[in-house]
């Protein structure tokens, strides 16, 4: 069975749902604290969950990005193991420079939202679509342009960069995995379809190799009908958001084990 470490930093609050979604798709998942002495090499993949690690002190994700445990996780991901950052986890991955990971420096930021209604924290249900051709470890069960309904909940979720050529490079490398869109799949770079003002309506980016992905929306909170806001059917049937975790499992089966 695929072993997943869900990394917990003080202030995270989505570690249990994230672990449960891994278990739901047939993986063995365990919450690992930031100061754990457990051997991380024994895991097949890693997830950094959402929340507010270190209360977002200094800048969301930056303090966790500098923790010793991240050095070990980065080393393992360089060997091809999958690493997913969700929301605050995405902020951590961007601050380590692993996303987009084209240079040995921090090339992007998850900056404070641009939102006409509120400054700071904002939560809402949004649509994202898979624009990547199944290159990444977390989207290989999705059809191209498949739409997912997921929640966002953050104050600093605006993907941006100072490098004017970076977005073109990311497109060329197929590193932009999910974009915000309307319910029909049309990408419109305006609020509320793009809930935070992210450049190019980016909701998730992978590294060039496709085994590391930073995504701002929360698939672990939208994996069953009963979790989805506005869903008429409130049963235990799975939604397509759970395919993120199913894809991770498949990637490990095919590439790691």
């Amino acid at each position: 069975m695929q072993k997943i470490a869900v990394l917990y930093f003080p202030g995270n609050n989505c570690e249990e749902e994230t672990r449960d979604r891994c278990i739901d798709v047939g993986m063995d998942a365990k919450i690992i604290r930031w100061n754990s002495k457990e051997n991380l090499n024994s895991f097949d993949g890693y997830i950094i969950p959402g929340g507010f690690s270190y209360e977002d002190r200094v800048r969301a994700g930056i303090i966790a990005a500098k923790e010793n445990i991240m050095g070990k996780v980065i080393e393992e991901s360089r060997n091809g193991k999958p690493l997913l950052g969700i929301c605050n986890g995405a902020q951590v991955l961007v601050e380590t420079g692993m996303i987009p990971g084209l240079k040995n420096e921090v090339e992007m930021a998850l900056a404070p939202n641009v939102n006409p209604l509120v400054s700071g924290y904002y939560d809402a249900w949004v649509y994202i679509k898979n624009i990547n051709s199944n290159k990444c470890a977390f989207n290989n069960y999705y059809e191209k342009n498949e739409i997912i309904k997921v929640p966002v909940a953050h104050g600093e979720g605006r993907f941006m960069t100072k490098d004017k050529n970076l977005i073109k490079k990311l497109e060329k490398n197929k590193q932009i995995v999910f974009q915000y869109c309307d319910e029909r799949g049309k990408v419109l770079n305006k609020f509320p379809i793009n809930p935070n003002g992210a450049v190019h309506s980016i909701a998730a980016i992978s590294n060039k190799e496709g085994n590391v992905m930073a995504m701002m929306p929360h698939p672990e909170r939208a994996s069953y009908n009963w979790q989805v806001s506005g869903s008429i059917i409130k049963n235990n049937e799975r939604t397509n958001a759970i395919k993120i975790f199913e894809s991770m499992k498949k990637y490990i089966e095919e590439k790691i084990k």
């Binding site: 270190y54 209360e55 002190r57 200094v58 800048r59 930056i62 303090i63 500098k66 010793n68 601050e95 921090v106 090339e107 992007m108 930021a109 900056a111 404070p112 641009v114 400054s119 941006m160 960069t161 100072k162 490098d163």
Partner: protein
Amino acid sequence: MTMMLMLVGLKVPDNVAITAFNTLKRMKFYQLKGLERANYYKFDVRGNVDDFRKKISNVDILVNTNKNKFSFSIEGNKEGKNNYKNINILIQDNDNRGGLLSTLRERLGFDEIKKLESGILWTMSFEKGIDAKKIALEITKSLLMNDNYQKYKII
């Protein structure tokens, strides 16, 4: 028009500064001896500045006197304690959207404010005799700022 500076810090221990300091030690910046943080506001105001100072220091949005200390000058931050040398670095977002200015003017009636700049002022203390400015810039770029949306200024 008169320019007026205001620095607002905490009377109680500043957990953000303490966490940043501990992280920098873990990143091997052993030369850093102290780190303090303050909210920085630079106003361009019209009219009587003394009256404005009294009014603005009673606005709970900027200062809660139960927990905040404040000053109208940076001179106190330039002088290091214990014979240390201080470096002050201001971090600002590139796209300042003016939300605070509109709150102060439209909701609280501060029509005398014509312009407002804000940011976070970090005061770093180093032992004398080392290249404190160089280390302060390394610290800024590696932890205190993400230059994809922020900028810094030594003041």
